[in-house]
């Protein structure tokens, strides 16, 4: 019973995701893209970075990257914490 509810919920959720994705734009033909055009035009000119993706990762959206490094650090800390040795003290 519970399982049926879950499966129905999953299928509804998947259908909703399909519906949302179908309504963005046709694949391969995005409309106006001011932000990406800005990156493509300016990364070489002002930052001398040939690779636009790297210039986004480390400069324009650099704060995301420090968050990402922090996520990796968090994972290391969490795994280190749950596999730690030692038994505490009384």
């Amino acid at each position: 019973m519970k399982k049926t509810i879950f499966i129905v919920a999953a299928i509804i959720l998947g259908a909703l995701v399909c519906g949302a994705l179908d309504n963005i734009h046709t694949f391969g033909e995005p409309g106006k893209t001011p932000m990406d055009d800005y990156f493509l035009a300016n990364s070489l000119k002002t930052l001398s970075t040939e690779n636009v993706v790297t210039s986004i990762v480390f400069d324009y959206r650099g704060f995301d990257t420090i968050g990402e490094a922090a996520v990796l650090f968090t994972a290391v800390c969490s795994i280190g914490a749950i596999f730690r040795e030692g038994r505490g003290k009384h």
């Binding site: 949302a20 309504n23 963005i24 932000m35 990156f39 959206r61 704060f63 969490s78 795994i79 505490g88």
Partner: protein, 521 residues
């Protein structure tokens, strides 16, 4: 260089830096580590307070990460922001202040509470990272950045919930939370991606300025609301919450309360500031209200039958989250109706916002007193306790204050916020107020039971040797008690300085958008 301008960045930089140097600091021994934990959370509290003062005095403050100037939101020749912008209005600053207070109290509590366990270097790192994630969710103005901070806070909480890895229940609770939170995060990422694909921007304010309702936007809103409601512990997906709250170490539980409020903040930011007036239909507000009612009622009805003191409080968290959802949902319902808004809608939002403050303080305090009992007696089952009032007078005193506040007894702050929610939800439909009142009565009954069994009654033989908890833990609890008492003794001051600017900033969608798009040099 004026440090006041950099406050929105500093509030994230400081705990992040603390997390990064914690492994180096823990080479220097126990004292250095504990000192780092307390100092970092204290500086964060100071910065949060200064940020709140700054925002109240100067209006919305924003910070462009990596821009030529920290306030150059629009680069030359662009009508839209391209970089990550942290945007702090009065509501964000209010939430960040609440979160920082709780983080400081939890850190002080943890210093003694976690003293006898191993792996404390990792604990300090994870605690600082959890604080960073929580504060980041509150101050960021970028939807993808919001996702990153959600992930930082969730991954840090998985590790901290499973910190006592020798208890099978802790591992299980952590795994359950990990699964649910991963599905939720992926839905948030899909919603952010769809919004990006359609409008080619990631800034919340900029999206809010151009958003027009269509099929895709409706579905994105449903994903965002559903997953954020799930992460703040609302009804249909609430089952992770009592497990996680009960199994985590207590100092962490106290912070997890604030983290769930950060998810609630995200929900409100999406509904009020991104969608706002463009929302059009009343489907989502009613969905939030129904979620709120259901979590209120089911949460409290599950709570009254619990024996485990921390699980009992966890179920009460589910029920209390319902109050905020109800208050803010009623406000959302009348967002584009100016007369009803002035009539009762703004009262509901004020009640919801005030209840966020109250809930964060008294629920954190309740968890801390439960942790103090656990520290002193080593027990969590209510049936094995009794007569603790004589042995632990300070803890008892603080428990009574928190319990009275959560049950909404008149002089305390819980009463004020609940009253605001009752009277405004009564104007929408009397049934809402009736459910809220019944929940309040059941909460009172439940806490009377806890007080009576744990603190009063005959003393158990097994508990004859216990004594009051150490001073640092008491100070941690006292910080929260002072906040509750302050809000209880000066309700009108609290309402006018703390709550009303936050509520006004939440409603003011055009102000939130205009600060970014109208700014620049």
């Amino acid at each position: 260089m004026n440090w006041n301008d950099h406050l929105p960045a500093l509030i994230l930089i400081i705990p992040l830096f603390g997390a990064f140097i914690a492994p180096i600091c823990s080479l220097g021994g126990k004292t250095a580590r504990n000192f780092l934990l307390v100092v970092i959370s204290f500086i964060t509290l100071i910065v949060a307070f200064m940020l709140w003062r700054h925002v109240l005095a100067n209006g919305i403050s924003y910070y462009v990460m990596g821009g030529d100037k920290f306030n150059l939101s629009l680069p030359s020749g662009m009508a839209l922001p391209v970089r990550i912008i942290l945007e702090v209005d009065a509501f964000s600053a209010f939430m960040a202040l609440c979160g920082a207070i709780v983080s400081f109290a939890g850190a002080l509590f943890s210093v003694n509470y976690m003293n006898r366990f191993s792996g404390m270097g990792r604990f300090v790192s994870l605690y600082c990272l959890l604080t960073t994630g929580m504060l980041g969710m509150m101050v960021t103005g970028d939807i993808f950045n919001f996702f990153i901070f959600i992930e930082i806070s969730s991954i840090a909480s998985f590790g901290l919930i499973a910190f006592w890895r020798d208890k099978p229940t802790a591992i299980e609770a952590s795994f359950k939370y990990a699964l649910i939170s991963q599905v939720g995060s992926m839905l948030i990422l899909i919603a952010a991606g769809t919004l990006y694909g359609k409008y080619n921007m990631l800034n919340m304010a900029a999206i809010g300025s151009v958003l027009k309702m269509g099929t895709m936007e409706k579905l994105a809103l449903v994903f965002l609301v559903g997953s954020l409601a799930m992460k703040c512990g609302s009804f249909p997906m609430h089952m992770w919450l009592p497990d996680a709250y009960a199994e985590a170490p207590t100092g962490v539980t106290c912070l997890l309360v604030a983290v769930s409020q950060a998810s609630l903040y995200g929900l409100m930011r999406v509904c009020y500031s991104i969608y706002g007036a463009a929302m059009g239909s009343s489907f989502i507000p009613w969905m939030i209200i129904v979620f709120g009612l259901a979590s209120m009622f089911f949460g409290v009805s599950m709570a009254v039958v619990q024996h485990d003191i921390k699980r009992l409080m966890g179920y009460h968290s589910v029920s209390q989250v319902g109050y905020m959802l109800l208050g803010l949902g009623v406000g959302l319902l009348v967002l584009d109706d100016a007369r009803a808004m002035a009539d009762y809608g703004f009262t509901a939002i004020k009640g919801g916002v005030f209840h966020i403050f109250n809930y964060t303080m008294y629920k954190a305090l309740l968890f801390l007193t439960a942790g103090a009992i656990y520290y002193a007696t080593g027990k969590r089952d209510l049936n094995e306790m009794g007569g603790l009032a004589r042995r632990m007078p300070y803890t008892t005193f603080m428990f009574v204050i928190a319990a009275a506040a959560i049950s909404g007894l008149p002089p305390f702050n819980g009463f004020v916020s609940k009253l605001l929610i009752y009277e405004s939800s009564f104007a929408v439909h009397p049934f809402l107020a009736v459910v809220a009142l019944v929940t309040s009565v059941l909460t009172l009954a439940s806490f009377v039971k806890v007080f009576q069994t744990a603190f009063l009654g005959p003393e158990k033989n097994s508990l004859a040797k216990i004594q009051e908890v150490p001073a640092a833990m008491l100070i941690g609890m006292a910080v929260l008690t002072a906040a509750i008492l302050g809000a209880s003794l000066f309700p009108s001051w609290t309402l006018s300085t703390l709550v009303e600017p936050a509520a006004r900033a939440l409603v003011d969608q055009s102000g939130y958008i205009g600060a970014i798009l109208g700014g620049g040099m």
